[in-house]
Subunit: 314 residues, 6 copies
């Protein structure tokens, strides 16, 4: 079986079907138009340049098109790039199969939803459970396919759900070690903290920020949703307030987007768990592409650091 586009080394040739996730027009320094394509299969994505394009090419090779490409992988300023030799639209392939060409979470959507449900089931604080379940049901559809971000970490189909599930597992382990932590509060915080990304981002394909994403942001939107859900369900009490606080403070600092710093034990831990899972995801993916004895590319969201892959670890 052929390996995916994400595993091609510099110098290897490519001959396969790929999806144009994103196509953007530019003007070369010689004055001629070109296209920057991000093409993907299940394994990941890669950038390709298409030089000297005609207006017809722009239409033919727009976002969402499945194409057949022959070419090879080059190094361009320390990043992999796909050099095109031939490219043609895969006319016969139906658009409904787009999903087969998008990178997605390593677990199935249904399996993950089922697992989250299991955590919901374990919660014993009725107020926290009812609010969380209500919002989980409300957004379940989008929540199950949304990426967690446009780039940096978990930026793939169902990335948000996968991120939440990993955090739930971390929450359980850490709560077992530190019994002063309120598991229910932590689970509720984990499940809801990023849920409004389904409104902040435009969805799993050609993902970008929506207008309300830019002007309001997922943190404020989700805090409002908890407030409204509580009113709708007739729930009162400190739980509502504290749950909103967990959501508002999960970026930890004002300069990172949180209007309040964590002032509740579980809020502090929620932030740290979020951090661990996001950073593990970024490091793992960068290190996967590096050979033992080498440094990775710089990771933008980790202070531009490169990570070294020791020769003695497996």
């Amino acid at each position: 079986m052929k390996k995916g586009i994400d595993h091609h080394q510099i110098g290897e040739s490519v001959d396969q079907y790929l999806l144009i996730k994103n196509a953007k027009k530019g003007i070369a320094s010689n004055g001629k138009p070109f296209l920057t394509l991000h093409v993907s299969d299940k394994s990941g994505e890669i950038e390709a340049k298409m030089w000297g394009v005609t207006p017809e090419d722009e239409t033919k090779y727009s976002s969402g098109t499945i194409v057949h490409i022959q070419g090879d992988v080059q190094d361009f300023r320390g990043m992999r790039q796909l050099r095109l030799k031939t490219i043609r639209p895969a006319g016969g392939l139906e658009q409904s199969r787009t999903e087969d060409f998008l990178p997605s979470a390593p677990l199935g959507r249904e399996e993950m939803l089922e697992k989250v449900n299991q955590y919901l089931f374990e919660m014993s604080n009725a107020k926290l459970q009812r609010i969380t379940r209500h919002l989980f049901k409300k957004h379940q559809q989008d929540f199950s396919v949304s990426p967690a971000a446009t780039k940096n970490h978990h930026e793939f189909v169902s990335g948000l759900l996968y991120h939440v599930l990993s955090m739930l597992e971390l929450s359980r382990s850490i709560s077992d070690l530190y019994p002063t932590l309120d598991k229910d509060l932590l689970y509720a915080g984990v499940i809801l903290h990023d849920m409004a990304k389904v409104r902040e981002l435009s969805g799993p394909m050609a993902t970008q920020y929506t207008l309300e994403g830019k002007l309001i942001g997922h943190i404020s939107m989700m805090s409002s949703e908890v407030d409204e859900a509580a009113k709708e369900l007739g729930i009162e009490g400190e739980e509502v307030l504290v749950l909103q606080h967990l959501i508002l403070s999960h970026h930890s600092k004002g300069e990172w987007g949180s209007p309040k710093p964590p002032m509740v034990r579980e809020a502090e831990i929620l932030h740290m768990i979020d951090n661990i899972d996001a950073k593990m995801n970024m490091m793992d993916r960068a290190l996967e592409r590096a050979a033992p004895g080498e440094f990775t590319e710089r990771i933008f969201a980790m202070d531009q650091r490169s990570f070294y892959k020791p020769t003695f670890t497996i």
Copy 2:
């Protein structure tokens, strides 16, 4: 007529009724308990120390009590302090007169409400006007007496309303000079930006932060209220989103409490108008107490700066 407590110079004697706005117990370095009293009349407030207090004194001189005091004004580390010679509860004076001893805005409550109404009346964008009017009515009672803060600026009865009114006047002048500004949007932003301080603060007497004030904050609370008001009134459209954005961004930066920086022209101007009015209030009050040719006390919220009062200005 006697002048108020705020106008007594160092060395002058005091002989008048005053309200204990705040009483706090401490332990002196000789091990004996004492009370730190903040006493006020209409003109302002001053700190006084009551040494060697008994448990009975603590009950007798608690917050909210009107007392008669004889003493004189001293300098204590660059701040004025009232030295007590005699103090006794003013038993015969009814508690309903508390308000007569609290500093308050220079304009009457009714007059100010009427003026704000006038601005509402001038608004022509129906969506913005209806949301603003709805929330103004909802909170009118508390809004008309709340201070704008616990300290720093406009920390007196009706201080919030007075602050909003000054900002409305600034808004009109500036919009007249820069016609690209949307007056309706600016007026709505000014009236609503701090309105949730009625929930963040505990009211005009012994003012402190509420639990939801600490954990959620007036910025997030007010953004939610606009969202809910719009739903309640059946209003949809970009106005709701942009109005929420003005509220969320009016502190301008993450480290000052805003989850989003201003990204709409009127949001930027709202922040600046807020700044001008707050700073004028702080500078005016500090300079009022300084003689020409002197520097004021340091103003905490203005980077600890002292301001000079020139001898040639009136």
Copy 3:
């Protein structure tokens, strides 16, 4: 009548006379020389690239030449760019008409000078008035044509004078609302604060920093000028000192170029008024070029923010 170069949309064709404000040689990545031209008419300016130039071209198309251009407007990395089809020097047009091709303030020079004079006339503090009038007369010629900056805001012919006039109007409005402000001091500060930009910058055409602009800066130069003017006019007293302070502190913070922070009420307000007018100018110009429902380009001097143009404002 034809519309100006600033109002051409992407894709529209251009066929008109333009002034080369600035011409700079570069080497393309293929090793061949090219020219980056900034060409302008009254409405504004646009960048154009001229590929594969000869040494003769460099002479023929230098700064200050009026040319006739045919071409069209393209998008280049989010900025508008003019693609040249033909270009030729407009030999018959006399150089004295250069000014007709430079963007300039929306009001006439004489009208603005007259208005500033009106403000001078209103001042009642004789010391402040005499110093201000003296320096205004001294620099009147350059002051009436100088831009306020090389880029960012008011970077057009008479931009400095226009900026000062707007600030005077703001000063009047704000002083009317806050009667503790000394109008004379504020007017004097506004008129003089940036006046040494006539020495810091090289003038309205191909504007750049002078040597004394770089090594001394307009703030220190103007403070010295006030000192010398006072000596020349035989004026003594605190007014001189305080006026120098307003100039020295008008950038507010050390890291923004002010050796002293504002320590006089009018100095603080001068900084804020300067800020409002500069930011309104930047936002207005960026928003003018954006369609409703879109974000502007990033504004460099406003923390790289983009601004949204709501669909409901006019």
Copy 4:
């Protein structure tokens, strides 16, 4: 059974034996000398002031003395303070029992050492295991009683060992969830990261920084020890280098004392695990002393934040 000194509420009386952990002389504002005593039993410590002391008192009540105290617990500026009524040296009690009056880890020393040994036993990379075991044996004696710090977190007898053990447990859980982590490397890093605190701090009683602690610091000292241990054991290879890197980078940033930021996956995770355990310890102890519905004292090492104790958690 009597409860310990750490559990006395404001107003409760005290009548028990206590150890003077620290005694410091001061001069009161009335010019008379006094002693600030930190007295402790197993449960924790509390501050007491002894007024008007004689030179004999200073000798009699020095650090390390066990005394009998009668008094009561007061509030002093938001901190608990013990007011002395009577105090006398507990002459008959032998000094060897000092340890009975010092707060210490909730687990026994031997039990903890045994558990760490278990983790060492699980390691399969021989190089990492031998270096770690070598240094663990070398410092075992001091390592088993040292506090982890002079204040802030784990500042009690065997605090360092307890901190390391908690971190080992966290390491196991997290490595189970993220299989790309090298467990051996992480365990080695956890066991060694703070080991040189046995040289940086003066021991469990009247803990202070040593000269080499101040001038060199535990991070640099431990990195050198790993280097020397490897040479002594004849071990070469990347393991030595990477293990030193984990130690050098475990404070994450230069401004927090690390000469290198984490550049290996396990180094990043080591920092985060260290952070979680330290913060849980600080939050737990502050919250233990707060009643439900109240905020804790400010926690210095967590940006001076106060934490809220919800009424609905147990």
Copy 5:
């Protein structure tokens, strides 16, 4: 011969004449007035508290009075403090001898002036020499007695002149090692850089900031003086500009008070030489008072660092 007040250890008794450099009234926590006296002899100064003072005492023990004191030196919060047993005005001692009780530079005024003249004499660039000599003559009187600061470094009689002389010697050595440096420019910069401190500070006794010191500052004042001196002497050319730049940039950064950063080689070196001499002065004086094997008090202007005095250095 008796040793001076600066060399008394904790516990030693004092019996000598001292000058009250500064007297400030305060209110003790028991409500009674007291005086904080800074008393000095040639060797240095020390703080003393005078408890329970009468209004007569305040007059009798004001700044500038010479008194006879018996007492002893105590430790107060890590600082030395003089405890008064008896104090009386030294009526018979004439006020003209005040200077005998003020700490001053280790070299004589005349000797230092002569040495600076020598450096002036060595300068070969006539323009720089004439401006420097002109201003040196103009301020010679005050320049020869002024301290360099109110606190931190060289805060004694003739401290400014002593600081300048040390910097001249450093300049000569460094220029000898780096021949690209222009000695004349560096000497001129050193002599003038702080000269306006004679206007910024009120003189050697009870030193404080003047109004122009606070509102304008010595940096801006001196830059203006160079400008005016050049005009007066009819000197033109780049020397004037560059010399002003050296003065304006000698604090190196905006946040440290310089409106321009160094942009000329000698400006950068001037800043560094200033730094070395100021820091050597602060470290030397702190270390002089510490015993070998101990740390000094924290030095405020060096990031609050304490310095260690090794036992092996002499």
Copy 6:
């Protein structure tokens, strides 16, 4: 005699032998491979682009090859660049002459080693001397050719030794002026502070960071070496500790790589001397290439500042 490559002005032609110090492959925006060459002779280095290269070219023109080049010097974005007309390998020239084409220190290696030995000879503290001499001998070979950095300052053959020698001369001058400084300690600190750069960097040709350079860094490595040297030589005492401290703190702040700030007088001065010599080197080289009356290129490691070269200095 022909002048070197570093002294060619824009527009001048080149016809000489040069060494390829570094060759790096890239992909042009037209998709074709090119080489970026850094070529050097004794006088310095310059960048050149080689367009449209074949796989054979890549082999032929790799790092370390001596080539003959004809071309001319151009301006590329404010930097000088060499445009190639012809290039061919200088087959007949033996590789052993590589050194003749590398920029190196202005003094000979042997002469400099001899001078450093002279300073060692002057040291009278036997402990400091023995440790320093031991490590100097150990690394002498590499130390005598290593550059001080990969870029910024002293990045040439023997740059490290030259840097150390200049600092020793500065140390002698400054210690002469400030006799409280311990010369031996300062000399030892200067000689050792950067010595581990022989391990951090890969040597004088195609210099890059080694793995231990990246993960450990020269500061930590050298501190360990001092520790081990002392043990090997059987030296004990505070000297070892303090010398390690000088090395650890010589970058002054955590964010610049030092795990401890200077806490010993000589440590503070070591940092300042290091700074002076590095900055003089950077400024001198930038100013050498600028004409009088012009500004230099921006110097990256000096806050991106440009320096002005006055017309009146020689």
